[in-house]
Each structure stands twice: as C-alpha cells, then as structure tokens.
C-alpha cells in the first residue's frame, strides 16, 4: 500500500506538469497563429499603438516567442509554472484584478452547485440502480434503462434551457400567481435563474440539471454491479445462514456493489466542474463557470487561462485522491 501511494504520487508530478504544458502549448499555438489576443478586446476599433502595447505587456503577451509559429515558449512556461506554484499567481484580468480573487468570490456558488449535483445524482442514481438491479428484466429495469439512455443523449445545455423555460418560467409563473405558496418555493426554488435573496433554494434546480448527466451513468453502474454481486457466493452464503433479506441486500450486496459507484462519483466531481460552465451560464449563477464563459465572450483570455489552470489542478488532485481511496476501499485490489 505504501509503495503504491509513493508511486502514484511520483506519477502525479509529471502529469501535472505535462497537463500544464499542454494547456500552455495550446494557448501559445493559438496566439502564434491568430495574432495578439488583446486586439479581440477592442473589436472593430483600432486601438492606439501605445495603448495596445501597454495592455499586451501588462497581460504578459509581449514575449517575442509568441510571434514565432510552432515555438513551444519554454521560458514563458517556466515563468508560469513558478508563478503558479511559488507565488500562487494565476494572472490578472483587464481591470488588474487577480484571477485568484475573482475565483475566490465565485467559488462558494460553484461549490454549492457541485454539492447539490453530487448528492442528487448519488441518492437518485443509486436508488434507481438498486431498484433496477434487484428486479433484472422487469418493468423497473427497462424503465431505468430507457430513461438513462434518454438522459445521456440529451446535451446538458438543451436540458438546461428546457428546464429553465418550462419549470422556472412557465410553471414558476403559475406558482407565483398563487397567494398561498411560500415565497421560498415560488420565487426561490422555481426561479428561472439564480436569485441572491434565496442563495440555496434557487440553486437546487441548476444543481439537479448538472447532476442529471452523471445520474444515468451512476444508475447503470449501480445496476450492473448489483446484478453481479447478487449472484456471488458470499450473498448465497448470507442467505443460507438465514439472514433477513434486508440485511442480505443492505449490508452484503449493497456495500460491495457501491465501491465502483463511489469511485465514479469521485471522478465525476471533475467532469461536473466542467459541466458547471454550461449550467451556470444557463441559470446565471455567478460561479466559476459563468466567469469562464463571460471571459470567453469578451475575449479576456488571461482569466480563462488562469481559471482553467486552477480547475485542472483541482481535478487532478481529486482524481489522485479517488485513486488512493480506491486502493483503501477495495480489498480485492492489491498494488504491490
């Protein structure tokens, strides 16, 4: 176990550096082939050369290697890596605000959204998966199968837009006309976007939309794993001992079946962070995701690079923790 942890940690360092270099090389290539990104901020107008030069230098795009096509710009990469790891510096935006500050302001919303999404997909997904797995081939099984295929095939932004309009606006308007419904439900839970007055209730629906993508996979994974385990010898032994059905299912089957599901949920935190970009844009949640899309629309590239670098580091860290957790959780796996 100890050797596995050390090996995994040693593998982690080149992966982090490699991913950061990939991100760096992609951005450098894009700049080398399409010119100074600062021009995008001005749109059609031609900025005075001095102003252009000043902004370019301030944002760190003045390096001459960004004009040579194909040059990997190692010097710039070293600067960025040392900036990130030694000074916790992820760059600045046009108004000279630190990207770390922008993220610090936005992160509570994204974290709340992620928690709602993960809890939703874990509770509903595992319940549906257990229900379908215990009755293989039945109506319940087919229902879960069909609805999961359907959920997988609906892109998250389509789902988000349709839910916002149907549930948030149309159904919400009906509720808001009724006098007897409390405001938390009518104006909070069923609001078509994020409301600062109801910081938790109005995040519930966006969180569910975000969680619904992985919900299908969670349900399928639980279903397959339950179906495998229910035929296992140790479950038959438990039944032969005369244990109650509740205990056989709840303790002997479910606990063993949940190992792959929990790992999947852990890995999914990473993809949910990326998915939050879409969900937050649709529901106007002032989190990290909306920060990224707004910066993408105005062409404020330093913000995007800083935030994405930060997100990638977090995702890598989460994946590392999940891998280590997996080694602890599953007694069948021995890395020696």
């Amino acid at each position: 176990m100890g050797r596995y942890v050390i090996r995994r940690l040693l593998q982690f360092i080149p992966t982090v550096l490699g991913t950061m270099f990939l991100l760096h090389y992609m951005t450098s290539l894009a700049i080398q082939f399409s010119g100074n990104p600062v021009r995008a901020i001005f749109g059609d107008r031609t900025p005075p050369p001095a102003l252009l030069q000043a902004i370019t230098d301030r944002l760190g795009y003045g390096d001459p290697c960004l004009e040579q096509k194909g040059n990997p710009c190692f010097g710039l990469f070293l600067d960025r890596v040392s900036g990130v790891f030694l000074h916790f510096d992820f760059g600045i935006n046009l108004r000279r605000q630190e990207v770390t500050d922008l993220v610090a302001n936005a992160i509570p919303f994204t974290l709340k959204l992620l928690v709602i999404a993960i809890v939703f997909e874990a509770v509903v997904g595992i319940a549906a998966g257990v229900w379908a797995g215990l009755r293989g081939g039945s109506f319940a099984d087919n229902l879960v199968k069909i609805s999961t295929v359907f959920v997988i095939s609906v892109p998250i932004f389509v789902l988000g837009v349709v839910v916002r309009e149907f549930v948030g606006v149309k159904f919400g308007n009906i509720l808001r006309d009724q006098e007897w419904i409390p405001d938390v439900i009518a104006y909070g839970f069923f609001s078509p976007g994020f409301k600062p007055d109801y910081p938790f209730a109005s995040l519930l629906i966006p969180g569910m939309v975000l969680g619904s993508v992985a919900l299908a996979t969670t349900a399928r994974l639980t279903r397959t794993s339950i179906m495998e385990n229910i035929r296992a010898d140790f479950v038959r032994t438990a039944r032969a001992k005369g244990l109650a059905n509740k205990r056989v299912i709840g303790v002997h089957t479910l606990r063993n079946s949940l190992i792959p599901v929990i790992t999947y949920l852990g890995v999914d935190i990473g993809s949910a962070m990326a998915g939050a970009v879409v969900t937050e844009t649709i529901f106007n949640v002032p989190g990290i995701g909306r920060l990224v899309t707004q910066a993408a629309r105005t062409g404020e590239s330093p913000v995007i690079i800083g935030v994405v670098t930060m997100l990638v580091l977090v995702i890598l860290l989460v994946n590392l923790l999940v891998d280590l957790l997996y080694a602890v959780l599953d007694p069948r796996i021995r890395y020696e």
Binding site: Q11, P14, T15, G18, T19, F21, L22, L23, M26, T27, A30, I31, F33, S34, G35, P37, A40, V149, F150, I152, S153, V154, P155, F157, V158, V161, V162, E165, V169, K170, A216, T217, R220, L221, Y264, V267, D268, G270, S271, M273, A274, G275, V277, V278, T281, V292, T293, A295, A296, R297, G299, S301, I304, I305, V308, L311, V312, I315, L316, N319
Partner: protein, 313 residues
C-alpha cells in the same frame, strides 16, 4: 463521455474471431449458426428494430448533410424581417426564425456542419488514437510508457475547458478548428481501448505461430492483431460520433463554436432560447433533430456492442 468509455472497454476484453474471410468458408459448409462473429452480428442487427430505426434516422440526417437540395428548394439565407417568427404553415413546415428566414431549410442546412465536424474528428481519433494504442500495446516497454503518460496528460484536461481555452484564443471558430480541438482532446480514450485489446491478443497462439513463420512486426500488427481490436473500436466510434454532434452544439451554444451566419442546430438553439415561451417550436425543432441524432448514434453503438460481444450469445 465516461459511459461511452466503459461501453467500449466492456467489449475490449473479448478478442473476437473477427476476420473478414471467415464467413465464406463457413457458409459453404451450410451451417448457419456457426458463422463468423461479423456474420452473426449482421444477422442479429438486421433483426433488431431499434438498430434499424436508428440507422434509418442517421441515413436521413446524412442525406440532409450531404445533399440539402434533396430536402428543400428554399434558400436559408433568403430572409425578410417582416416574416420574423411566423408560425409553421404548410408552405413553411417549421415557420420562420427571428430574422425571418425559412426555418425548415435552415434546419436542413444546419445538419451539415455538425455531421462534418463529427466525422472529421472521429476519423482523426480512430486513425491517430488507433495507431498510438497499437504501438503502445504491441511494443510495450518505454514506447508504452511514453504514450501512456501522454494519454494521461491529454486525459486530465477536461474536454469542455480545453476547448474553451483553445477556441477563445484561436478566434477562427470554423468547422476545421472545432474538429481539431475535439480530436486533440479525445484521442486518448480510443487509444486506451485499442491498447487493451492489443495487449490481450498479442500473445495468443496464432500470433506466436505467425511470428514463428517469420511475419514481420508490421504484418503481425495490422493483419493478425488489429482485426481483434476493430469490434470495440467500431462500438466506441459510433457512440463518440453522437457525443461529438452534441459537443459541437454545446460549444456553439456557449458562443465559442460556429458563429452566425453559418447554419447549425447549435446556432438555432442559442439564437432562440429566449423566445421559448411565445414560440416554442423555434426551440423544439432544432432540439428534436439534435437529440434524435445523438440518441440514434448511442442506440446504434449499444446494439453493435451487444451484437459483437460473444459473451452475450
């Protein structure tokens, strides 16, 4: 995406007896049940109504993309603003969009960019990812070490985030750059599938026999080992086509994909999502086409996996 990965990997473990010439030999002996993997799969697929409906739908969308003139004689760019958001009628089955352009022809012409991007990106990942997986699995050792680390690196950059960074900076958001970024960020999955499949079959007896006879590395890889990996690759490629169609629309919706005046389903959705309550059909038609296409690809992939996996027989 990750479900598609596990879908492909599920088949990866089973080295099929896929060899193009097998069915001829078997069919002469007259025994229908013992045909090759591919003949069995074909028979099962033709009888599967879900698969046939999905194929038909993809065929329809494919003809829309390849020959839009077959489906409509209207020009999607002949617009007049006094027809803005007119409801569907017989002459114009999808009505008019916000700029007063015929929405039906817009939807027909919108199929092309999605399909072209999906096919280009999938072709790219099959060729490049397949080659990388083949090399890593066959040679092992330091080749495998380098390629696997490279896959880890590309794998840890989430697709959406990488695409946002690249497309914002490149500023030329057209079919080629979108296909490029899709290809760049998703080749490792297919490489992993192929690598696993190659590793599981490279030490089989018939490969050893071929090596003993004196077959070279290239011949061993492409004639003897690669055919085993084709089944899982085909399943994954079908599913990934669907996810690329969805990815193109998602990027367009976020404002970093295709830009108007190009026609695409993603543009149709993002331009009209605020008119949903007054004119829901403006959103329902493109969403329906998009979901139908993605769903068809996923169902086709599922059916292919069931048909090509000998364990399900």
């Amino acid at each position: 995406m990750s479900d598609a990965t596990s879908a492909g990997a599920a088949v990866g473990g089973a080295p099929g007896s896929g060899d193009g010439r097998a069915p001829e030999k078997k069919s002469r002996s007259g025994k229908e049940r013992n045909a090759s993997l591919w003949a069995d799969a074909r028979r099962q697929l033709v009888r599967d109504p879900v698969f046939m409906i999905a194929v038909l739908y993809i065929f329809v969308v494919g003809t829309m993309a390849a020959f839009p003139k077959l489906w409509t004689s209207q020009d999607p760019r002949a617009c007049s603003t006094d027809q803005s958001r007119l409801a569907p009628s017989w002459e114009h089955p999808f009505g008019f969009n916000i700029q007063g352009c015929d929405y039906y022809s817009h939807a027909i012409y919108g199929a092309r960019p999605s399909m072209v991007i999906a096919i280009m990106a999938t072709g790219g990942i099959v060729l490049f990812g397949g080659l990388m997986g083949l090399l890593a699995g066959y040679y092992g050792g330091w080749v495998d070490g380098i390629i696997s680390r490279l896959m880890d690196i590309f794998f840890s950059l989430p697709f959406l985030l990488g695409a946002i960074v690249f497309l914002t900076l490149i500023k030329q958001q057209n079919v080629v750059t979108i296909a490029l970024v899709l290809f760049l960020l998703s080749w490792p999955t297919i490489a992993r599938i192929i690598r696993g499949s190659v590793i599981s079959s490279k030490d089989l007896d018939y490969v050893q026999a071929a090596r003993a006879v004196g077959a070279g590395n290239g011949r061993l890889m492409f004639r003897h080992i690669l055919p085993n990996a084709i089944a899982p690759m085909l399943v994954y490629a079908t599913i990934v086509l669907g996810s690329f169609v969805a990815a193109e629309a998602t990027l367009t919706f976020l404002g970093i994909g295709l830009q108007p005046p190009a026609q695409s389903w993603g543009i149709m959705i993002s331009a009209h999502d605020v008119y949903f309550l007054e004119d829901p059909w403006l959103l329902l038609f493109p969403c329906g086409l998009l979901i139908g296409t993605v769903l068809s690809f996923i169902l086709m992939g599922d059916a292919l996996r069931d048909a090509l996996d000998p364990k399900f027989r």
